[in-house]
Structures are given as C-alpha cells and as structure tokens.
Symmetry: D2
C-alpha cells in the first residue's frame, strides 16, 4: 500500500539533503554499505548535504573524523550540525557572566567554552559555594558519577534559579545490535521532573535544530524549504521534525523502523514521510 | 532581590520588540492603559515591533482591527504574527492534495484555504466517505459541537493516517477577570492522547513561532537576535520561548504573573527573564 | 511461544471469577456467543463470579438488566461491581455536607444521592452562587453540554478547592466495530491538566476497585487471593490491575487485544497474564 | 480561613492512627520533639497506630529500631507497614519460579527472598544468560552502579517480558535541611519511560498501601474506615491517598508543607485534609 521509492530518484529532486547520522549513514559497527558511493553521487550531481545529529558529546571536528577515516572525503566539520552547536549559540546569546556547570566529558565541554566564561564539571562544583554558577548544561552521559553527580546537579538547580540546557533530546542510543545505553536526554527528563523546573532542550525533532540547519545552509546555497529533503530512520525525531519545519522527508529502513513494520508504525504514530526508501544505497 | 526595570529604559536598548498580546497589550476588558502612548513612543524612536499571538481563530486583519479601533494607528495586519500563519505555511509546504478538515469557525478556516485545496468543517465530514481528507487542522474552540464533532474527529484520525495540526498551543484563555474558556489547544491534547498519535503544534513557546517572526522581521529590518526583545506576561510561553530562541526577554506583571508572586514563580519554574517590568506603561 | 489455554480448564481451578464486561461478555452488538452456557457451567461447578466494570453511567440494577434480558439468569444486581459504587462509598465516607455537583445524566446521579446530601447537575450550577458545593463528580459523558458545561466545571474547581472524583478511568469506549466515543475519564484528564489539580479516580486498573470487589466477595465466600481469577480483554486495565492486586489473570482475545497480535502486545507492554484464552467459550 | 486544629483533640476522635514517618515523626536529624510523649498518650488512651512508609530499603525490624533506640517503646516491627511488604506479597502471589533480579542493597533484598526463589542483584546479572530471570524489583537507590547497572536493567527488560515492580513511589527523599537524594522511584520512572513498559508500583498514595494497612490492622482491631485517621506531611501522597481510600486525614506542617504556605498549597492542588495541625506535639 505504501510503496518503496528508489533513493537515487528521490535525491535527484532536491538541491540540499539533510541526513540523520545513526541508522542512516552509520550504525554500531561503523559506516553502512553504500554510504561512500552515495556521497560521491551527490557531489557529482551538485546536491549539497548536511548531517544533523543529536550529539553534544563530541565536536563537529571529531564527528567528521569518523567519515573521513572511512574514506568519505566529501564530509568535513562544516557539514556537521549538532545539537551541541545550538547549546553553544544559546550560551553565547544568553549567558553573559559566571561559570557554566556541565554534565559530560571534558571533550564535550568545548561546546560551551566561550570568551569570558568559565566552565566547571558538575563533579567539581562545591554546593557550599555555587553563587557564580549561571547555567547548567547537559552534554554527555559520560564523564561523571551518575549517583553522586546527578544528585549534586539536582540540588544545585533546586537552590539556584539558573537555566538548564539539555543538548541532546534522545532517550537512548544503540551500542550493539540489541543493546542500548541511556543518553543524557533521559537524565535531563528525570532531573526536570524531580526539580519541577522547565528545561531548555536542543535537538531534533525541535524545529530550532532544523531552523539552525536551514540558516547555516542558506549562507552557502540559495534555497527555499521546497529544495530540501530530510532523510532519517526515526519517525519521532527526523520525520516529524522535518515535516513540521515544512521540508520534505524520506524515511529509510536501516535503523529504528524495520522493513517489516514500517506501514504499521507510520499508521500507528500518524507521522507520514513523503518518501520511504529501503536505504540510502543508490 | 529581583528588581523591577523601567520599560522605557529597556525598550530603548533594542531595534525590534516582539509583544505578546493578551496580558501585555490587552485583556478581557480591551486595551490596557498606556498602550497607545507606548506604541507612539516606539514609532518616535524608530523601534520596530510585531505582535506574536497563539491565535488561529481570526485573520491578522481582524486581529489588527481591535488595535486600530482603539485608535492605535501604528498597528496593522503586517504587524501581527499568529500561530495560524504557521499552520498555513505548513499546509502550503506539505499538503498538496485532497480536502483539509478543520475544527473551528468558518472565519478561522481562512488560514488553510489555499489554491487547489478544499476545506471542510469537521461537522460536514461524512465518516463513511473520508477517503480524500488529507489533513486535520485545529483552529478554534468555536464553530462545532464539542461532543459530536470531537468524537468524529477522533474516529477520523483513528481510521486514516493523516497529519493533525494544532494551530494554538494554549490550554485556556481568559474571558473575564476570574473565568477562563478552554482553548482548542487543550482539545488537541485530549484527542492526541486518545488517538495515541503525534500531532504537529504551532505557537509559542515553540521556537518555530519565533523563527517565523524573526524571518518575517528580517525582511524589513537588518537585525540579529541581539537586537530583539520579547515582551510577555507568561513565563511558560513568552519568556522560555524567547530565551530558548536566543533573544532577550522581558516579563510584565499585567497578566499571568502577579506583582506579588513573580519572584516565587520565576524561582519555581526556573525560567528567568532578562528584565521584569510592572507593565509596558512608559 | 505463548500457548492458548482452554477456558474451561482455567475456570475450574478457581473458586471465584471476576469478569470484565465489555470485550469479554458483551460487545456493541450485545452478548457474545457462549456467555449464557459459560455462566451455567460456573453455576453447576459452584464457581462464584462478579462483573467488574468501569461504568458509572448506570446503576447495577440497570447494568444487570441487559444480562437478564438476554436470558442469563445467573446475573443480578448483586453480581455487578461498578466504579460508580466506589465513588458512592467515597462520598459516604468523606463528603458530609453541601451539594455535590456532577457531570452526567440524571440516571448516573443515583450513585451519589445520599441521605442529607443534595446533588446538582453542573448545568444547573450558578457560578455566582457556588458556596455550598462540596464536591464535583464525573459520572457519564452524556447529560450535559460539553462546551458550556466543561468550561463551567473548570471555572468551578479553579475557584473553589473541592475534591473532584472521576468515576470512570477509561478514555474511550467502543460504539461500533470501528468507532469509539470519548468517555468521561478522558474529559477528567483534560480538566485535571487545565486546572492543575489532583483528581480522585475510581476504576480498573486501580487496586481500590479490586480491593472493593475482594471485600464484597469475601462477605459471601471464604476465599483468599489465590482462589480468584480476573478475566479481561485489556492488558492495561484488567490484567495489570489483577496482577498488581495479586490475583491470577486471564486475557481473552475477543476485545481490545486481537488474536494475531497478543504476543506482540504482551511483550510490548510487559504486562503478562497467567493465562490466555481465545474467548470465554467453553 | 483554614484554621489549625489541636492534635490531641483530633487524635481522641479515632481508634486507629496511621502515621507517615518522614516529616511527621522524624526528619534528617532524627526524632522530632514530642513524638515520645505523643505515642505514650496514644497508648494511655487505647488508640492503636501504624507507621506507613514508602521505604523498601530496610526491613520493618530495622525501621522499628530507630524508634526503639530513641526510647519509644511503643513502636516495634509489627507497627511498621512498608511498601516493601507489598512487593513481597506480590512476589509471593504472582512469581512462582525463576530468579528475581533487584536494584538495591543486599539488605533490601530480604523483602523478596522467598522459599524456592532465588534473588540476584542486577549487578550480578549476565545479559548473555538471563533466561531464568522472572521479575525485576526496584528496592533501593543504593547497592549498585547507577550508570552500568541501570543500563543493564533497561536492556534486561527490553529483551525479556517480565514484570517490573517498584517498591517505592517517591521521587526524592531529604538528606539534610536543604538537600535531597534521588530515590529508586524516580529511577523507576526513567526506566519505565525508556522501556515503554508499564511497571507495577507499590506505596502511598496508591490505595493498595492503605488497603494492606487496613487489612493488617483489622486482624487486631475491630474497626471500620471511619475509625481511622491518616496523619501525614505530604498532600500528594499521605493526604490524597487517605482521602481516596475513604479515611479521615490530618496534615501536619513539619515536613513537605510549610506553615506559611499550607493554604496556598491546599488550594493549588485541590487536595483537602479533614484536619490541619502544626505538628503531632500534644
């Protein structure tokens, strides 16, 4: 009833393609088959692309490196748009003073390091001396002690009314074919409920991620929303986010949604992609 | 501890001001005192403004009329940015065929009337013949029978996987000093939970509303986010939405948040405006 | 993997059986095939039974009548345990004075009529004179104007801190093979969210319904929890409720859960019945 | 407007009193002033009592010890009713085979140790060999590595459809005058959302806790619901739970609800106690 489309035919209709990374271009084992050829094809046909990822654990440079290491020369740090970049823009626009506490690794903290602002890992925060802490940013699920430091983070925001920024909206991420890990987005949901505060979240499906990517892309390309396609494996982040932002969307069946259940899932959620492709293989 | 600012001093720091309407410029009795003088002051000082409203029940023309009727000559339909305009943009970008069913008055349906597309009030939908219905849009809490037509809307979306767009994210709106009415946003929440679908919502605090206003404003003015101030009476729509979008925010105490409890509410929600003014009176 | 059991074999292991009504004994067309024979079999084998229903729209007498009219002589009003009976018990224990406002038909109001207490339909409440109203009870989705009277109910509870009792926890109920209606439970969820209050709910899966039935049953029969089986068609009301209360549970596939998807649903919810039977047919 | 009652006068109206522990009888510093005298007064006046606590981290014996150590001779293990006891009853009634995995300390595991059943800490579970695990019980926030073992628990329940029991419904518990810790109830909420399962929860305000206490009490005393008073410091657990169960309730202002804001909180939640006392001091 819902037929499958050929990715090559779909891609040729657009000037710019936004890709989700995990489940579309890569998985827990590394790059998916055909990714290299696909990017080459886009290049040959003058189709620009960006990779939109709910990942604030590593810098765009590091995120790009995994593609470059796999011999995909078309990807570089300027092609990566991560939710961490939105957190950084927020900090730049809205946090003018003080120290910024964070949950995450030191590597993730690069997103919030900014002229005139100091950052401090939550594990180094002293709850007797938190007067100059001006924001809390959740960046990564690693780099801290979950029990001790989540409790510390909770008590910090109970005592001091500071903005809390969650730079990753996902609940889990896959680590093997069958197993997942808990992402810092889920940790943020728990802390928000316990503190009864309203946190600020960045990442798909929120339209600010798409808007950021569109503005970023519009600096280099003369495009309207009708020229852009979002390709993703998740109905509830990639597809609904792209739909709501007003760009066309393409579901691929190499990640969250399986080939044997895509019709059921589309009907069940009521989230309808413009195209469905088995994969990005040409 | 949190001091009050003078609105005149605050306004003079910005090139553009976004205003919420209800609780800031008007209330159930009509225009608030000082609004006329304030708009005149902005004009004299070359400060541009837009009114951002979660209202899809009436066209920008009709929304502007209430200001014009009150002798405020600076307001016209081009100054109004309503959540209904985002619903219209969505329809234009993403719904290419079929009939669009809607909950609301005929007046509200103007937002979704589009070349080549027919609209149909949910009350005229025949549940035996819905094959060509391609979307459902929730526009206004009036214009239909709540019992009969909400059930009809629920059964429609249970049977057919179509996008459901909610063009008003508010739960209630004030009708007298003490009483509220239930807005179509709350009706949308109920239907979404019962249908177990994911609806598409437009309106503050969602960043797409601010992004739409920013792009709209950028066509006429050469501005960055740092040049814009959001003025609102609601922490959970105006202030958090403006904060997250990265513009400065100003809470006024003439609506949702009372002068005797603003500190408590700011602490309790953890949503912190850049400025707090008693009102927009100069 | 999860094999089907024979209902006769299962039933013979217990002294008392609790039945859900809709989807187990009846559906929108009337009694299901085999119900009459099944009740006769229980009688012959000295197995007691009760019918537990989330229905406060009609009295036990009226609820029993549909069985009697179908020639099922074993059912009478003493076999019916409805969520309305818990609302009545609450009123008797906790509301000693004033008038009790209700949403529902006059027939449903019988549950809350009590010596010394007056009841008043929400449609007759005067919002200028509500001083003696001491509780609001949601009984049925019929008997009032959804738009006018839901707004009136919302404003009443915003103004006066009274307990709100919801005597039906279901969101929808089936009216034909494909269509549902919105039950007063969903209306209660909407009002509770808008009023930011905490309502009091009665009905499966809440354990108070099972506890009430157990106490009711223990007056006539010498039983422990191990002697009782709950038979239902819904994992999220009948089965989880029975499991949590500590009695054995049997899922039948004649209502909410279909024969072709029961394994998927059991795995997906993580709610595991002790037995699964195609139907209550012997 | 809402006057304060004298605890002595209130207590004398009842045959049995149910006490919450934390915020009523004790706090982070130990026993509250007057508790010893109050229990002595109850004894003299033949008023029975039970302590109802959402605590599955320690056995009733250990929980009673803190009272005995403070010289309160009236308290012993038979006076303690903990949410862990309900988890134990559930296991006894519903889990007949296999190993029961748990999150918590070894001390907390005593609640689920049962003839013929083995228990295993989640930290010792091997995700390659989980075939005989028949349930997961969340008992305490200590005794495991939050990062490693919560992920393990999540993957276990994603793979195997087993019941998950949460023996503590609280989100946080106080550890000093200003600081809280995250309880295993909040951990349960996070895991339940990530796994998209429905967990089984025991503890106030759920009526099963009150029903269990009532049955327990009815073995020793000839009482009806009208003879029992629930005394607690939390509107959303003690008071609403008692109200819904149909017993009278008394809010004390020595814990969650402060003397300067009780009226506001009662109005704001819409949860109304029958009595309000400053404390249990006579």
């Amino acid at each position: 009833m819902m037929g499958l489309d050929d990715f090559k035919d779909v891609a040729l209709k657009y000037k710019v393609i936004f890709f989700d990374a995990y489940g579309v271009l890569k998985n827990y084992k590394g790059m998916l088959p055909g990714v290299k050829e696909m990017f080459h094809f886009l290049q040959e046909n003058n189709i620009a692309f960006y990779i939109l990822t709910n990942d604030a654990s590593r810098s765009p440079e590091l995120l790009a490196k995994s593609y470059i290491d796999a011999g995909i020369v078309e990807v570089n740090e300027n092609k990566i748009i991560s939710s961490g970049m939105l957190a950084r823009e927020y900090i730049q626009n809205k946090v003018q003073r003080g120290r910024i506490a964070y949950l995450g690794t030191e590597a993730s903290a690069h997103y919030i390091e900014n002229e005139g602002l100091n950052t401090i890992s939550i594990k180094d925060v002293d709850l007797e001396n938190y007067i100059d802490i001006s924001a809390l940013v959740l960046l990564d699920d690693e780099g801290f002690d979950w029990n001790v430091d989540l409790i510390k983070a909770l008590n910090l925001i109970r005592k001091k009314p500071i903005p809390v920024i969650v730079a990753n909206t996902d609940g889990t991420y896959p680590v093997t074919r069958k197993d997942v890990a808990i992402s810092v987005g889920a940790v943020g949901d728990m802390l928000e409920a316990l503190a009864r505060k309203t946190f600020i979240r960045f990442g798909k499906p929120d339209s600010q991620m798409f808007s950021f990517a569109f503005d970023y892309c519009a600096k280099e390309h003369d495009v309207t929303k009708k020229d852009i396609l979002m390709v993703g494996d998740s109905l509830i982040t990639d597809i609904i986010g792209g739909n709501k932002f007003g760009i066309d969307t393409c579901l691929v069946l190499t990640g969250n949604v399986q080939p044997d259940s895509y019709e059921l899932m589309i009907r069940s959620y009521g989230i309808i992609p413009d195209y469905i492709c088995e994969s990005i293989v040409l």
